[in-house]
């Protein structure tokens, strides 16, 4: 009798149901620092946002790793509270349905036995939940703990991939405090994981409105032809906060606004505004173009730093109906602190597209309003016909990242009546109106991307290091020039000297 010859197998005939939408493969997530603030406020509420939208993979499990003597039960209770306080609508019920998927693993980061036990636990999860050896490690810990965790993960083989299994690590900011420490951290990461396994979170990139910068530029035909030095006078990128440092004085004192905001969020936004169109929307094509922008920004010399930067520190003032403390009066801040709570920087991108168009970056605490925006200011028309040849307000394309997310365009329009008078009007698109409803948090998008393995919205090693190179030169210039922060009253738009930074005929926007 002849044996039956099986026909050759083909790929899953329903596979398009899994790839069409963005679906993650089954996996387990290990959160280091699971008793911390970030886990409770952001990570787990965001995971439940994904669960509510049906975006978590089947069998998904979470193991929380921290030092405290918590049990599975107390851990779950704490997370349930967090989801209730910080989650989107309907996430508490999503958590209840998945409660059993959360487990607590008590160990010190420095204890190798803790990792051996973690490994066993993960293997058990693979057997029971078919997570197939796929793991994501989230470092939600103080940066000082990174190196121990990374070494231990590598030593017990948890960072290895193979046989279709993935192992990924998500690293929270700050990625170092200068170029040297960033390189050292990246080397430690590299000793345990390949770059393709590493996901460095800058939550700004998870914001819809930040991603919309690329959509606006490259999905529309009308903007890109104007997007260069011929038509754009300058670009202002602002991240303003109205709050002070609060209880984070001790941490902030070590970093200052340039490390805390400009090195990461503002430079990330700048690269999206300034980059060339990528050949495709793949992770490396996009990040290659972003890195090129950073590379085209020369490190400033101390003399240039004196001209092109302004440092400020908020001083006591009556603001928002009350007496606001000055930075030096905040808890954890020395009375003679020289840390800046405001910085404005003029950067020049030395390439064909942007030569001659300055980019002004500013960020500060205790400014009048909380606002993040990119303002693209266009040049004046070559010949001024109206208002007796006096220059009118320039056209501004405004990308509002938060709050009141949207895009608006300011242009001049004739005032009805017998005279020829021109007044500014605004054409406005608001996210909330055009796409009402509740939007996913930035962390939701980023967690899902990490599960899918899409690193487009994560910072690559060279990006982080280039950004530090630019910032290091500024910090070194400040030190060399003994450029101390200038006081500004809390609730104002920063030191007056910041106006001079812009050059004649330009003013800072007051968002």
């Amino acid at each position: 009798m002849m044996a039956e010859v099986p026909s050759p197998a083909v790929a899953n005939p329903l596979a398009d149901e899994l790839t069409g939408a963005r679906h993650a493969k089954p996996c387990a997530l290990v959160i280091f620092g699971a008793t911390g603030d970030l886990t409770k406020r952001k990570l787990v509420p965001s995971l439940m946002g994904l669960a509510k939208d049906g975006l978590l993979p089947p069998g998904f499990q979470v193991v929380g790793f921290a030092r405290r003597a918590w049990t599975d039960d107390s851990f779950r209770q704490e997370l349930a509270d967090g989801v209730r306080q910080f989650g989107r609508t309907d996430t508490p019920s999503a958590f209840e349905a998945l409660r059993e998927s959360f487990a607590f693993h008590q160990s010190d980061f420095d204890q190798p036995q803790g990792y051996a036990a973690l490994r066993e636990r993960l293997e058990q999860i693979d057997r029971h939940h078919d997570t197939k050896g796929n793991r994501i490690f989230y470092l939600a810990t103080p940066p000082s703990a990174y190196s121990g965790i990374l070494q231990n993960l590598a030593a017990c083989g948890l960072s290895k991939e193979g046989d279709g299994r993935f192992a990924r690590v998500i690293v929270e900011k700050p990625f170092g405090r200068d170029l040297a420490t960033a390189v050292a951290l990246n080397d430690q990461v590299r000793a345990a994981f390949h770059e393709r396994q590493v996901f460095r979170i800058d939550h700004y990139l998870g914001k819809e409105t930040v991603q919309n910068i690329l959509a606006l530029r490259f999905a529309n035909g009308i903007f890109e032809p104007l997007w260069n030095e011929k038509f754009i006078d300058h670009v202002q990128i602002t991240v303003a906060e109205s709050i002070g440092v609060g209880s984070r004085g001790g941490y902030f004192e070590e970093s200052g606004i340039i490390r805390d905001m400009i090195q990461n969020h503002l430079l990330q936004v700048l690269t999206l505004v300034a980059m060339e169109p990528p050949a495709a929307l793949t992770a490396d094509a996009v990040r290659d173009e972003k890195v090129k922008v950073l590379k085209a920004i020369r490190s400033l010399t101390p003399a240039e730093v004196a001209q092109a930067t302004v440092r400020g520190q908020y001083a006591r003032n009556f603001f928002g109906g009350e007496e606001a403390r000055g930075y030096r009066d905040e808890d954890g801040v020395p009375a003679d602190s020289t840390t800046e709570t405001y910085a404005a920087v003029r950067l020049q991108i030395a390439n064909w597209r942007w030569s001659g168009t300055p980019f002004f970056l500013r960020s500060g605490k205790r400014l009048p309003r909380r606002a993040t925006e990119v303002a693209i200011q266009f040049k004046q028309p070559p010949h001024l016909l109206f208002e007796g040849g006096r220059p009118l307000q320039p056209n501004v394309l405004l990308l509002r990242i938060q709050p009141d997310e949207g895009v608006s365009l300011r242009f001049g329009s004739k005032v009805p009546g017998p005279d020829v008078r021109v007044r500014d009007v605004r054409m406005d698109f608001r996210y909330g109106s055009a796409f009402g409803g509740e939007h996913a948090d930035a962390y939701e998008r980023l967690l899902l991307d990490a599960m899918i393995g899409d690193s487009t919205l994560f910072a690559r090693r060279d990006e982080v290091e280039e950004a530090w190179r630019i910032v290091d030169a500024i910090v070194a210039g400040w030190r060399r020039n003994d450029q101390r922060p200038e006081p500004y009253p809390a609730g104002t738009w920063g030191p007056e000297r910041a106006d001079a930074l812009l050059g004649a005929g330009r003013t800072w926007r007051k968002p």
Partner: protein, 313 residues
């Protein structure tokens, strides 16, 4: 951000544009420097029987938060002699700025007047934005009424779960889809987790095209579940070249299948609704029996699915 609704006002059919202007006036802010703008992104035409009025309203309410719209709510009502119109509006206010996010025109239409609806609606559609039709009722006895409204629209949404003779009416729908009409069926969207669960199961073993494949779909004895099972069955028949059998499991309210049993050679996949919003999937081959996995079943209301259908269109 706060929401504001103007009260509904009855108006004569030829005064609807004036009533809309009154809505804008009512929405504008009285504060100095305040202004009002319209943020409409779609025209929306929703049709239901007057007895299903509440369901249609709930769906539109959900949907307009995501898609600010000029909405026509058309309620087919027996026992009235002539067509009645009511106009109302909704706005959001951000500081001094008000934004109109809903202009609603509600029409109560006796059966004999139905043919006049397109003529009334057409000039009232806001130009330059897409028009979506939501046919939230049974398949029409006079399909030309449906077709006339389809003609006005860029995209139409139906729910075959509301059909009375699903097999024949799904065919009628398919004819229109094949003719190039953009049509979304909410019942098909509700099946998405089932499709995904089965696709996920097929990842666990090799697919042999020559191996015999059969599928048994069990569903409650109601037309909504029948429509759902028919859609899923036809899809599996086409994609897996499977022999598909539909079985009624007995009386029940559920509008999705109870279970899908797929046999492929010596492998069995059983996906079962556990009645608590989850689909449990078991895969068994001659060598391995996998631990079951769960996929969340669709919990979206008609309004959520409608908003999703419009987003995707």
């Amino acid at each position: 951000m706060t929401a504001l609704r103007t009260p509904a006002r009855q108006v004569a059919l030829n005064r609807i544009p004036d009533a809309l202007r009154d809505v804008w006036r009512a929405c504008s802010s009285n504060e100095p420097g305040g202004n009002v703008s319209r943020a409409l992104t779609i025209n929306f035409i929703g049709i239901a029987r007057a007895v299903d009025e509440l369901e249609l309203r709930a769906a539109v309410d959900k949907m307009h938060r995501r898609q600010p719209c000029r909405a026509f709510l058309i309620l087919a009502q027996d026992g009235v002699q002539t067509m009645h119109a009511e106009v109302s509006g909704g706005a959001r206010s951000h500081g001094q700025t008000r934004e109109i996010v809903l202009e609603q025109i509600e029409l109560r239409v006796p059966p004999a007047w139905f043919g006049n609806v397109p003529g009334l609606v057409r000039p009232l559609l806001v130009n330059d934005i897409p028009t979506h039709l939501y046919w939230a009722t049974t398949w029409p006895q006079l399909p030309r009424h449906f077709d006339a409204l389809l003609e006005l629209s860029d995209h139409a949404v139906v729910d075959s779960g509301l059909f009375t003779v699903p097999a024949a009416e799904l065919d009628a729908l398919r004819v229109r889809q094949e003719a190039g009409r953009k049509l979304t069926d909410l019942t098909w969207l509700r099946l998405r987790p089932w499709r995904r669960a089965l696709a996920e199961a097929l990842e666990r073993f090799p697919w042999q095209p020559a191996a015999p494949t059969s599928v048994t779909l069990r569903h409650a004895a109601n037309t909504a579940a029948q429509a759902s099972a028919l859609l899923l069955g036809r899809w599996l028949e086409k994609r897996l070249l499977a022999a598909v059998f539909l079985e009624e499991s007995g009386p029940g309210e559920q509008n999705q299948p109870d279970s899908v049993e797929l046999r492929h050679g010596s492998t069995t996949v059983v996906a079962t609704s556990n009645g608590r919003g989850q689909i449990q999937v078991k895969v068994e081959t001659t060598e391995v029996c996998w631990l079951p996995f769960m996929v969340a079943a669709s919990r979206g209301s008609a309004g959520d699915l409608l908003a999703a259908a419009i987003d995707m269109a």
